[in-house]
């Protein structure tokens, strides 16, 4: 593919007086494993919602594989997968039913949805829990089920919001390996996180967002600039805590 997988131009969104996203531009090449990092409240989730046709922007354009998301949201949704920060699943469906339902909604035949669902549950290590209600799943299991739902139609671009938050190391490893395999086949992943170590480990492209604006965007090497990503991030976004002189009592054994 010639153009970028994700192209964002001048994206803006305000909620009342507060400007959550203040005009962001972003280009992610196809086949990238891209990270969008920023402190809490920086506008990561709002930006991802606008890129995935869930939140109408005030201004700007989002192109996925050259397709304008906001002029044809349905066509865009057919080629993307989304894993939100809080898994949006039907609690009263079993894992197996949820995946089949997601497949059917993406236009797969019943047999195809069931077959792909079974394979994804297997890879995600959920086969043993396939017939339990999602209401009874742990956080990690819910994230894995949500990932299964986002992948069942084989999207070319996958968006994830804080994919590993609250997930145990074993589930995290399963998710990471599946994503790496997905990117290895030429598909694109954009995920938001504030866990720098994770971004540094898996991403080849990093964008840092703060106060609704992209502060820096480029290859992980470029953004790090010879430091750890954590240090580069703190240098760019600035330390938020003030001096700790007042805490003289902290750490002493006396009450």
């Amino acid at each position: 593919m010639d153009g970028p997988a994700i192209a964002v131009r001048g994206l803006r969104k305000s909620f009342g007086q507060k400007e959550a996203v203040a005009g962001i531009d972003l280009q992610i090449a196809a086949g990238s494993f891209a990270g969008l990092v920023g402190p809490n409240g920086a506008g990561k989730t709002t930006s991802l919602s606008m890129m995935t046709a869930l939140l109408r922007p005030d201004a700007g354009q989002v192109l996925i594989n050259g397709l304008d998301v906001w002029s044809d949201p349905a066509a865009a949704k057919a080629i993307i997968g989304v894993v939100p920060a809080e898994a949006r699943l039907f609690d009263r469906l079993s894992g197996e039913e949820m995946l089949e339902y997601a497949g059917r909604l993406h236009g797969l035949s019943a047999a195809q949805a069931r077959a792909r669902g079974g394979q994804l549950l297997d890879v995600l290590d959920l086969t043993g829990d396939a017939r339990r209600l999602i209401a009874d799943y742990s956080t990690g299991m819910r994230k894995k089920a949500a990932l299964g739902c986002a992948l069942i139609h084989n999207p070319s671009v996958l968006f994830l919001d804080e994919p590993l938050e609250g997930v145990d190391p074993i589930s995290a490893d399963v998710i990471r390996r599946l994503l790496t395999r997905f990117v290895g086949s030429g598909s694109t992943v954009l995920f938001s996180s504030h866990v720098m170590e994770l971004v540094e480990q898996v991403c080849d492209h990093v964008s840092i967002i703060d106060k609704g604006k992209i502060v820096v965007s480029g290859s992980t090497q470029q953004v790090r600039g010879g430091k750890t990503l954590q240090q580069a991030f703190i240098d760019l976004v600035g330390p938020r805590a003030s001096g700790e002189d007042g805490l003289t009592w902290l750490g002493s054994s006396s009450a």
């Binding site: 046709a53 869930l54 939140l55 109408r56 949201p73 349905a74 949704k77 057919a78 989304v82 939100p84 809080e86 949006r88 699943l89 039907f90 609690d91 009263r92 469906l93 079993s94 197996e96 039913e97 089949e100 339902y101 997601a102 059917r104 909604l105 993406h106 236009g107 019943a110 069931r114 396939a130 017939r131 339990r132 209600l133 209401a135 009874d136 742990s138 739902c149 139609h153």
Partner: protein, 529 residues
């Protein structure tokens, strides 16, 4: 410690009042209601002075008040956040002082004060002589303490159950008997009292056993002291105090256990059958399958069907059981039944919550939106139509005038179509976020959106009432026709008419939703279910 928890409770209340207008309104309403109840109970108890069955009636009133304290935590699933022991687990608190502090916090607030003022009416009603007044004051205080300890014991015992998913699921079904009980009291008791079947003398018999319940002990202690039987009065008070002590001890034990017992709700059974039903019926079948599964598995949905049945019966039962009652009241049952089915589903997206975002993957245009709304209608219709018909037949059988059953069924079908049609339109044009309070599976409108729910309720009730008028007019106009043919034609036409109304609603809703999907999505995301 006690002061700290009382202040914490008051602080939480003040913060809630500052944060939202609806909290302010509900606090003012609740306090006004508490003042009215306090005055009414005080006046009622005081008015018994000199009555023949004064002590018997005081016993009954004391018992009813204690029952209120028992049932209140069951209805509201725990009263406030200070009192959930789980909130206090991180702090180094010993169980006994914690229990005393929680009791003190429970006593702070308009309702306990209102209850105490009301109970003091018994001093006016029963006590005579200084000993009578003294025992009366002590009895009122002990009765309040008994009520609070009882409520705390129930809340703490339930807290463990209600923190598990299974427990919360089961709790939904408590709503059905509560609605039924409320309807019984508001319909049957005033009628029985008006007909002279319920008088003060009716309660004389119950006192024989109620006097030995803790509230009875309190009431009879006042009477004993006033009659000069000081020993008996003090013995009764001592027995009541002992009951409170035992209840308190049980509560402390239950509290100590609750503080260290984790939630075991994730141990659950598996569902039968792996595949979605109706999968071969395309997108409409897929949506219908999801809604159908929810009708069976979501406890709130199951409770809704129970409540619809209770409402239908409650609307007309007392008239039907009266010999000269007009049987046309059955039609009111049909209208209310249909309207409430629509009302409970008039915010399909808000009630679905953030999971609706997953469904938008399939909502690519007007056609798929029609599939969504009609899928919902199909899953509701296959339950609602038989339910409405069976209840109507049951009411007609009770009334022994089966002729009215046919018209009632025709109204059921037309009303159901109108209700589902309106529900589709409301779901799209006025969606609002919904919330589940901690510990209950029932959904309510999020803060500030209650007016949307009310608009839906009245809008649909009015719409259904208007929509069934042609069916009733058709019945009246064809009264001369042969009965069987007329009945068959009436039911068939009503069914067709209902179907047309429902599908008109689906079309209007789908067209309106076409360009508003992202906005509707945001409403769904704001639901906290």
């Amino acid at each position: 410690m006690a002061r700290l928890l009382v202040r914490l409770k008051l602080r939480l209340l003040v913060n809630a009042l500052r944060a939202s207008t609806s909290a302010k309104v509900s606090f003012i309403l609740s306090t006004t209601w508490a003042v009215i109840v306090a005055a009414a109970v005080f006046a009622l108890l005081a008015s018994l002075r000199g009555a023949a069955a004064a002590v018997d009636l005081t016993t009954v009133i004391f018992t009813v008040l204690a029952f209120g304290w028992l049932i209140l935590p069951v209805i509201s699933f725990g009263l406030d956040t200070t009192l959930d022991p789980a909130m206090l687990t991180p702090y180094p608190l010993r169980t006994r002082p914690l229990a005393v502090s929680l009791l003190a916090a429970s006593a702070a607030g308009p309702w306990p004060v209102a209850n105490l003022i009301g109970l003091l009416g018994a001093v006016v009603g029963l006590a005579s002589g200084w000993l009578g007044v003294l025992v009366g004051l002590a009895a009122a205080a002990l009765q309040l303490l008994f009520c609070i300890t009882l409520a705390r014991f129930v809340t703490t015992s339930m807290a463990r159950v209600l923190r598990s998913r299974r427990g919360r699921d089961l709790a939904a079904f408590v709503f059905v008997p509560i609605v039924a009980g409320y309807e019984f009291v508001t319909q049957v008791v005033p009628r029985a009292a008006a007909e002279g079947k319920l008088t003060a003398a009716s309660f004389a018999g119950v006192d024989a056993w109620m006097r030995w319940l803790p509230p009875g002990l309190a009431a009879h202690a006042i009477a004993d002291a006033s009659d000069g039987r000081a020993g008996a009065a003090l013995a009764r008070l001592a027995l009541l105090a002992a009951v409170i002590a035992v209840l308190g001890w049980l509560w402390i034990r239950s509290l100590a256990r609750a503080l260290v017992t984790p939630d075991a709700s994730t141990q659950s059974s598996r569902v039968r059958g792996g595949a979605l039903p109706f999968a071969r019926f395309g997108l409409r079948g897929t949506f219908a399958a999801r809604f159908w599964i929810y009708q069976r598995r979501d406890p709130a949905e199951l409770a809704y069907w129970g409540i619809v049945t209770v409402i239908m019966v409650a609307v007309s039962i007392s008239t039907i059981l009266t010999p000269d009652g007009h049987p046309a009241v059955m039609l009111a049952s049909s209208v209310f039944g249909a309207a409430f089915i629509g009302n409970f589903h008039a915010n399909a997206v808000g009630a679905t919550g953030p999971a609706f975002v997953a469904e938008t993957a399939g909502l690519t245009g007007e056609r798929s939106l029609r599939a969504y709304l009609s899928g919902l209608n199909i899953s509701l219709g296959v339950i609602a139509a038989p339910l409405l018909i069976v209840v109507s037949l049951g009411l007609a059988a009770l009334d022994r005038r089966p002729g009215y059953a046919v018209l009632a069924i025709a109204v059921d079908l037309a009303g159901l179509g109108a209700a589902l049609g309106l529900a589709s339109v409301f779901s799209v044009l006025a969606p609002y976020p919904m919330t589940k309070r901690v510990g209950t599976p029932m959904r309510v409108a999020s803060d500030g959106f209650a007016v949307y729910g009310l608009a839906g309720t009245f809008g649909i009730l009015f719409g259904v009432a208007v929509a069934v008028v042609p069916v009733i007019v058709a019945e009246v106009l064809t009264s001369g026709a042969p009965v069987l043919a007329r009945d068959l034609a009436l039911v068939a036409c009503a069914a067709g008419y209902g179907l047309a109304l429902a599908s008109a609603g689906v079309r209007i809703g789908a067209r309106a939703a076409r360009y508003r999907l992202p906005e509707i999505c945001q409403v769904a995301i704001r639901s906290r279910l």
